[in-house]
Subunit: 353 residues, 2 copies
DNA sequence: CTGAAAGCGCTTACAG
DNA sequence: CTGAAAGCGCTTACAG
């Protein structure tokens, strides 16, 4: 009984082979399904299996990845604002996890502080640890990501631009905003305030456009000062709503507030509550996204549902196809995959007819 | 100009060395700080740097990990119930991400369906892809994880048991429950319902114990039927509250409900709202955890704060120490790190004095 | 049916 | 100051 000074090292193929009295390759063939001849006699096969079990053998992924040129891991990059992953990300991420699990892929999360400043770090992640990367980037301002490495495929969810060679998924935000504002109008609201997303984002612009078009179609005047820039967070929504309320007396309250995200809506509702203004009796509120937040407010929020979870799920699919085509594809395309939004009615919109 | 048919392959040290007219080791020394002699002449150093930049060289982690025996990646395992990561996890995870980022470690999330059935999968993750693993396991029933591999260190957050060789972090749940119920009593509540966590969890038992002790200390009778088993989720909380309300007429409503988690409290508030019962005018509600949920309800929830984010952050620290001691440590200990809870007062508790 | 060889891209001793 | 060698643990051709 030889004393093996391997400390806490995990057993290797060589260890297993030695234990079973065969070569490491034979062990590789039965344990890891290596593509060498599959026919190993039943008896030695069983010996190898027994040895592996005894030694608690696990193929080392680093070694395997090096030889096989594939990590079976996908990266997910997101910017965290205020140090917290938000509900939007959580929804998308749940879909990504589901897709990855179905395809036996692992998931690595990379958090960035800021797309512009950290876009170089993105390159650093393409060092063999992942086979491809999903960018969750609804908050990506234009021209902040470029020069992505060609040897690692990327897929973007809600980028606000076309990134060269990167497939992207987005939902019809303008259409969703249009439908929600039209719904508010149908329910008898005329003076509709819009709390918008952050400056410079296509998402923001698209939601404003949908809002404006719905008003125009109903031939309702849309004064400039009814669009207030907020930004995609609870804090910004609250701040913007409070700012608006300061300059307006109770009689002149709008009929409704259409918020560019659920988080903005939550903030707005907080600001309204602090002024003793009731939703939806005094004012209706509508959100956008349909994250978990929409169900935790009181009253629950009517909102525009984006299929975030499905988009995350599909992104995995798109990415894996790109990974598998890595070597034969001439050049990756910036293919777009679109999703329809739908209205979700809860309790935050009153009927004023 | 030789045509290199390397498809979309990333540049290697050999490529950089060739480009700069030096060996791969010299390149390794400059680019990756390999421990070989550090003194490379300035001129060749610059040549190497230039070549690396031109070729966009990135050290391949799989190769590096194999040689260096370290992945610089930590695993995070959690059970997702109902297919969704919850707020509890999100809070802990934010702390883990922060700690990992500070120490330049990557993070890989492994989701399990069920601790008992998937505990074998945990072993499968210890295959060199991670250097250590954090178990986020407030929902771990006893004896469901054992036989963890000795070559990969583990740290557990809120396991409900001592796992051999695994350091663990937990907060004083019993103390927190005690303090909250005592606070309710001070505010004039006498009949206090408890909506408990899932069966078989120490967390559940500890919160019940704290509840009971506070009543006992105040010499308030605690009838058995004032403890209702719910389970740690919004749906279970709602269901349990609704079930209770069915058997009770409006006059006999308790003064307060102490919920074993914020999610239970959110569900309870939904059930109460559906019956037209107002919080806190008709009944006070208290939660536990202080996740984001506590701030999104209307009224906002008074709750017992567990320092989840800090616990996640600290778990990284504990784990990394274990990783670095991997080879010299005789045998890892089941060291415990405790955290105090604190009460957070918002608007869901009335003063009945 | 099974094994010896070479290589994935990086290390760390060891020479010079 | 720099390079040739051997090895991390696994592969895939190629022999026999």
């Amino acid at each position: 009984m030889a004393f093996k000074k391997n400390g806490n090292r995990a057993a290797t193929l060589a260890d297993v082979g030695r234990e079973a009295g065969v070569s490491a390759m034979a062990a590789s063939a039965v344990l890891n399904g290596a593509k060498t001849s599959t026919r190993i006699s039943m008896v030695t096969r069983d010996r190898i299996l027994a040895a592996a079990k005894k030694l608690r053998y696990r193929a080392n992924v680093a070694a395997r990845a090096l030889a096989y040129r594939r990590m079976n891991t996908i990266g997910v990059a997101a910017v965290i604002e205020g140090g917290e992953l938000n509900q939007y990300f959580l929804n998308v991420f749940n879909g990504i996890l589901e897709g990855a699990r179905e395809r036996s892929q692992n998931t690595t999360v990379f958090t960035l502080q800021n797309w512009i400043e950290d876009s170089q770090r993105l390159l650093g992640f393409c060092d063999g640890r992942i086979d491809g990367m999903i960018l969750v980037c609804p908050n990506l301002a234009s021209q902040s990501v470029e020069n992505l490495p060609s040897h690692t495929p990327f897929v973007a969810i809600h980028p606000n631009q076309v990134i060269k060679g990167v497939a992207f998924l987005e939902s019809d935000e303008e259409e969703g905003a249009f439908a929600m504002v039209q719904h508010l109008i149908e329910k008898g609201h005329r003076r509709i305030l819009h709390l918008s997303g952050g400056r410079g984002l296509i998402s923001t612009a698209r939601r404003i456009k949908g809002y404006q078009n719905a008003l125009k179609k109903a031939q309702i005047a849309a004064p400039e000062n009814m669009i207030i820039e907020a930004g995609f967070s609870i804090a910004r929504g609250k701040e913007a709503m409070a700012r608006f309320l300061q300059n307006v007396d109770a009689k002149a309250l709008p009929d409704a507030v259409f918020c560019a995200s659920d988080s903005i809506a939550v903030g707005a509702m907080e600001a309204l509550a602090e002024k003793g203004i009731h939703v939806p009796e005094d004012i209706s509120v509508a959100g956008f996204d349909d994250t978990l937040l929409a169900r935790t407010t009181r009253p629950q929020l009517s909102t525009v549902r984006q299929p975030l979870r499905k988009m995350g799920y599909d992104a995995v699919d798109t990415l894996i196809r790109a990974i598998e085509n890595r070597d034969n594809e001439p050049s990756p395309t910036s293919e777009r995959k679109g999703y329809v939004t739908e209205l979700v009615f809860r309790a935050s919109i009153a009927n004023r007819n």
